[in-house]
Amino acid sequence: MSPSDAWSRALSRREMLAVLAAGGVTLFSARGRAQTGASSLTRRIPSTGEELPVIGLGSWITFNVGRDPRGRARCTDVVRAFFEAGGRVIDSSPMYGSSQEVIGHAMAQLPAAMPSLFSADKVWTGRAGAAQIEESRRRWGVRRFDLLQVHNLVNWEDHLPLLLSMKAAQRVRYVGITTSEGRRHGDIERLLRTQPLDFVQITYNIVDREVEERILPIAADRGIGVIVNRPFRGGPLVDRLARHPLPAWAADIACANWPQFLLKFIVSHPAVTCAIPATSRVEHLRENMGALRGPLPDDAMRRRMIQYVERL
């Protein structure tokens, strides 16, 4: 049984309708200047109903440019284009080198975008989580984070109570946990079932679909939002597919390139809240943000997308 089939069976029709009602895709007018008259695909955060655009921005590797002024200017251009295209969610971590500082530098150049920002960061340390979070907040230049996540479940036993207490004190709005590339899925499942989480961040893409079997159904069942990292496997997936033609039927879901094809596959899963592709190039950012427009594939189209990619 393929993971896709398992997903279809794992979510009954009734459950699917519940997911769509609670966090289903909606269209709304974009905030960005470039999007006047256009509409963006959004999903509701299950725990509050707050809407988020389904495409966010990751910062792993791409924003770690240190003190390089040209690199920082390039990243600022990417962030500017991201907000202009209607984006909101930016994700980082203290583990990503200088990425937090570079995001903070970009946001300082774009004060008008600050109200739109949905800041997602992580705690990643063996101890002293509160001090690390405060240092991260200072680097971003935000009053408080919207979402704080326990990075790769590192020391979650200490950090999760801290984050939940911060949420209770309104020092962060949402709490989550993360993993990547299929690590510790057993622990992730257990925490999704037992902890009052708002978000889980996992790796999911058209070739890595293990999470369809258990994690996505549990998140949907428990009303937990899902952020998807490594939608392009860090880049090589797009590079591999770029050697092949995009199928003509991709136009039916308004996909003009492979990144949009891959992103629409991800965000069409009803349990997914948003995907966070990372890039340091404005032209790639614009390609990615194109996935915010047009129809999403239905279940039959999703199976066709998988079959097409598997044949390549």
Partner: protein, 230 residues
């Protein structure tokens, strides 16, 4: 780190090749004109070790130590650490190697000029010349601009490679003790370049492999120390 065996080098690499190369450009611009002194320092052991006088041996070891000290502080701690949290550990390791090299030149008989030029001596000399001359050119071939090239005495890879050659050429005992960190760095630097997709990876990885082979070759004879002129 949980499930550490599932992590690949690419999972631990936090920066792109473009950013890594750009770091060298920033570094070179910020420390100029230190290049003039450090390139001279990188070539100095070759000149100094043409004679056996104790002052020559000590000065050769001191210039090697100076290069490791410089790379530790100016490159790893002041620059590389801005994009790589692990660079702080690299900096401390390079400082430790600087101290070791300084110690190496102090006791009599630890370093000496080779009496005969066999395979090992020629291989070690080739390592030094490769580090001094070929590594900067290899960087250009790999796509770096001349502002971004690695320079012996200033950047870690050619410094470690040249050190391998000089120590194999001159150390009379406990060679692995002096060479452990340079070999380790060549492996780290090589894997890093390999993960970044740079053909330059062959240089440090090849240097580490050659050094291992040269270390395994049997003992060589050294010219005995002359009188201590130092």
């Amino acid at each position: 780190m949980d499930e550490w065996w599932t992590y690949r080098p690419s999972d631990l690499l936090l920066f792109s090749r473009e950013t890594y190369y750009g770091l060298f450009e920033l570094y070179h611009a910020s420390v100029w004109p230190a290049h003039l002194a450090l390139v001279l320092a990188s070539a100095a052991p070759l000149v100094l070790l043409r004679g056996d006088a104790r002052w020559r041996v000590r000065l050769a070891a001191a210039t090697l130590a100076l290069q490791w000290l410089w790379v530790a502080v100016a490159f790893h701690l002041a620059h590389f650490a801005t994009i790589n949290p692990f660079a702080t550990y690299f900096g401390w390791a390079f400082l430790a190697q600087a101290a070791l090299l300084l110690l190496m030149g102090m006791p009599p008989g630890v370093m000496s000029v080779p009496r005969a030029w066999g395979f090992r001596e020629r291989g070690a000399a080739a390592l030094v010349l490769f580090a001094l001359l070929a590594v900067p050119l290899l960087g250009l071939l790999a796509g770096r601009s001349w502002r971004q090239i690695e320079i012996p005495g200033m950047t870690p890879d050619p410094t470690a490679m040249a050190t391998l050659g000089i120590v194999i050429l001159t150390a009379t005992r406990a060679r692995i003790f002096w060479l452990a960190l340079p070999i380790a760095w060549c492996l780290v630097g090589g894997v890093m370049l390999w993960t970044l997709g740079s053909v330059e990876a062959v240089a440090p990885l090849g240097a580490a492999a050659l050094a291992a082979v040269l270390l395994l070759i049997g003992n060589r004879s050294h010219r005995r120390h002359g009188p201590d002129h130092g």
